[in-house]
């Protein structure tokens, strides 16, 4: 039965997730092309010095890419579920309600994970061409909260979309918006070294909260 749920979710998001991943890959490709160009026009040691001691991040444009992915997938997956209260169809299926929702959520989150892993892998691979492992690992530490933010955005938007009452949607948006800033507080390279694990735990906790909105829908809060 979960296969059918996956099938439905895939039908909804397939073009978006593929398109987003493709765009992301192209973006990363462009980023490294630009880096290559910089290396050609600037001495390598100047490039390293800029990165190590002057806070330059050649990847800073990537900051909101995971967030955009999270938002896109959340909307494409869950908006079709709430139009005309189609969530009723989902809840009527012969599976425990929370189980269905968690399967749907897992599919969306895993799709994002696959995209992000592709980005991560490409980024790491290309970076190692130009920079030593210490610099690459610091940039990965810097990128990690941005990736986590992509997931957090996905979870929060799902919570908001499933919430039946508009006033609470607005409240969740407010709190969710403030909460998201935690992932983008400081830009410094490797600044999140000590916070990434805490953020990871928070993001995982957030992943199941949408069940509350769905529960409110089921009880007829509309």
């Amino acid at each position: 039965m979960w296969k059918s749920v996956f099938y439905k979710e895939w039908l909804k998001i397939r073009w978006f997730i593929v398109g987003y991943t493709l765009l992301g890959v192209l973006g990363i490709g462009y980023m490294f092309l630009a880096l290559k160009h910089s290396f050609a026009f600037t001495e390598g040691e100047n490039m390293w010095h800029l990165a190590l001691f002057q806070g330059h991040q050649f990847y800073s444009h990537f900051k909101f890419v995971p967030l955009a992915g999270g938002l896109t997938i959340a909307f494409t997956q869950y908006l079709p579920e709430t139009i005309n209260k189609r969530l009723k169809l989902t809840f009527h299926l012969p599976l425990a309600e929370n189980k269905i929702l968690l399967i749907m959520q897992a599919f969306g989150a895993c799709s994002l994970l696959v995209s992000f892993l592709i980005f991560f892998g490409l980024f790491t691979g290309f970076s190692l061409i130009y920079f030593p492992v210490q610099m690459v690992s610091n940039s990965l530490i810097t990128i990690s909260p941005w990736m986590l933010a992509g997931f957090a955005a996905y979870f929060i938007i799902v919570l908001i979309i499933l919430e039946p009452k508009w006033i609470f949607r607005f409240c969740y948006l407010l709190i969710g918006g403030f909460f998201m800033t935690i992932y983008f507080t400081l830009d410094g390279t490797a600044a999140y070294s000590h916070a990434n694990s805490g953020l990871f735990i928070l993001t995982v906790l957030l992943s199941v909260t949408f069940v509350f909105s769905a529960y409110r829908f089921r009880k007829g809060e509309a």
Partner: protein, 406 residues
């Protein structure tokens, strides 16, 4: 699920409500600017906001009189007004000497608790050229020292082996714990790096004509350095200020690699900003903590000649903070003034005045529950949450309503 949402709600509110409060109400503390005067052997204090210049005894000075007490600092002004003295305490005031001895060093707490680069450029110390140039490679010290050429990102094996051997033969124990230097070409000359190895031994590393220069420095028994700041002063007296894990300040002389302990007390690098003004006759060490400033004057033999401490009203003593402490049980922040790292910094409010508001809010929520005719037993945890987290919990609970429908 609901409790997770409440937890996240409380967390978010605990970060942003206090932030909002302080943006609205925070007032800057009045910090004085303190310098040691070699003219009257006294500390001179400039209260910047009030445009008042006094000494430690409270005697007031005009701006010109104040500047005349500090000729090393205000020599330009005094020269322009013709009131620069010829000598002080028998020492002739030669401009060249004044400029040579003038130094300023600053170390903020957040520079210590900050991410470290892990790769550094080792300059050629004797290029024979007027200006320093960035080398083509950067080094890192892991199980050995490796030089990586920046353009190709490849390890230069020969150079790496040469320098690794030199370090090894001088007793270096890999990997390095701390590397300090001036990784910029904007300095008068290159003096390499001071490196603490895994056994807390101290080494000086330079590159001279392409060859490694390694000197193991004798460290007093039991002294471990947790932070080193290399300096580039005109007088070339010392290489660096070193800070031990017992919060002592040392200097490392250039002449004979001697580590001299400045007997400074009251400096906690994790919470204090440090400023050291050097001039022809004295060193003035300013330790600035949250609520006080301690000024210590040393002579050129690094002996303490005078100290002065001044406290000021901090956030915590002001009315705004008392109100804050009555409203919020604690504050959460992702950033700290004393660090460049993001963490979840948790600061409980001073005192327990907030308990009154919390009890009030618990009562409010209790009445709200009664009015809704809900089963109180199932909401005991909520009342507990409001009791502990106060206004954060109350807002969060009302934001995520109707956890039970049965």
């Amino acid at each position: 699920m609901w409790y997770i949402l409440i937890f996240i709600g409380v967390l978010t509110l605990a970060i942003f409500l206090p932030k909002l409060y302080w943006i609205a109400f925070e007032k800057p503390p009045r910090k004085p600017f303190i310098l040691y005067s070699c003219v009257n052997n006294e500390f001179m204090i400039h209260r910047i906001g009030e445009r008042v210049w006094v000494d430690t005894k409270g005697k007031q000075y005009s701006r010109e009189e104040y500047e005349q007490k500090l000729p090393m600092m205000f020599y330009k002004q005094l020269l322009a007004s013709g009131s620069m003295p010829d000598s002080i305490r028998g020492t002739a005031l030669d401009m060249h000497a004044i400029l040579r001895e003038k130094s300023f060093f600053r170390l903020k707490a957040n520079e210590i608790d900050a991410p470290r680069p892990e790769l550094y450029p080792l300059f050629e110390s004797r290029t024979g050229r007027a200006y320093l140039e960035l080398p083509e490679d950067f080094f890192r010290i892991t199980w050995r020292i490796e030089f990586i050429e920046a353009t190709t990102n490849k390890i230069q094996e020969e150079k790496s082996q040469l320098f690794s051997a030199a370090l090894f033969h001088n007793g270096f124990s890999f990997p390095a714990k701390f590397i300090s230097g001036l990784p910029t070409f904007r300095k008068s000359c290159d003096e390499g790096y001071l490196i603490v190895d895994s056994k807390d031994q101290l080494f000086h590393l330079k590159m001279i004509k392409g060859k490694p220069f390694v000197k193991k420095i004798d460290v007093p028994e039991g002294v471990k350095f947790k932070h080193i700041s290399c300096v580039d002063f005109n007088n070339k007296d010392f290489y660096a200020y070193l800070f031990s894990d017992k919060n002592e300040i040392y200097i490392l002389t250039q002449a004979n690699y001697k580590l001299i302990n400045w007997a400074i007390e009251g400096y906690d690098p994790a919470n204090c900003d440090l400023k050291i003004f050097g001039d022809l006759l004295n060193y003035t060490v300013i330790i600035e903590a949250n609520d006080h400033q301690k000024a210590i004057a040393l002579d050129k033999q690094y002996e303490i000649v005078d100290t002065y401490t001044e406290k000021w009203l901090v956030k915590e003593d002001m009315q705004e903070d008392w109100i804050f402490a009555s409203l919020f049980p604690a504050q959460l922040s992702m950033t700290s003034d004393n660090s460049k790292f993001i963490r979840f910094y948790f600061t409980p409010s001073k005192g327990f005045d907030w308990i009154f508001l919390n009890l009030l809010l618990v009562a409010f929520h209790f009445i709200w529950l009664l009015k809704r005719k809900t089963k109180l037993k199932s909401h005991l945890a909520d009342l507990g949450i409001v009791g502990i987290s106060g206004i954060y919990g109350l807002i969060a609970i009302h934001l995520f309503q109707n956890k039970f429908f049965d």
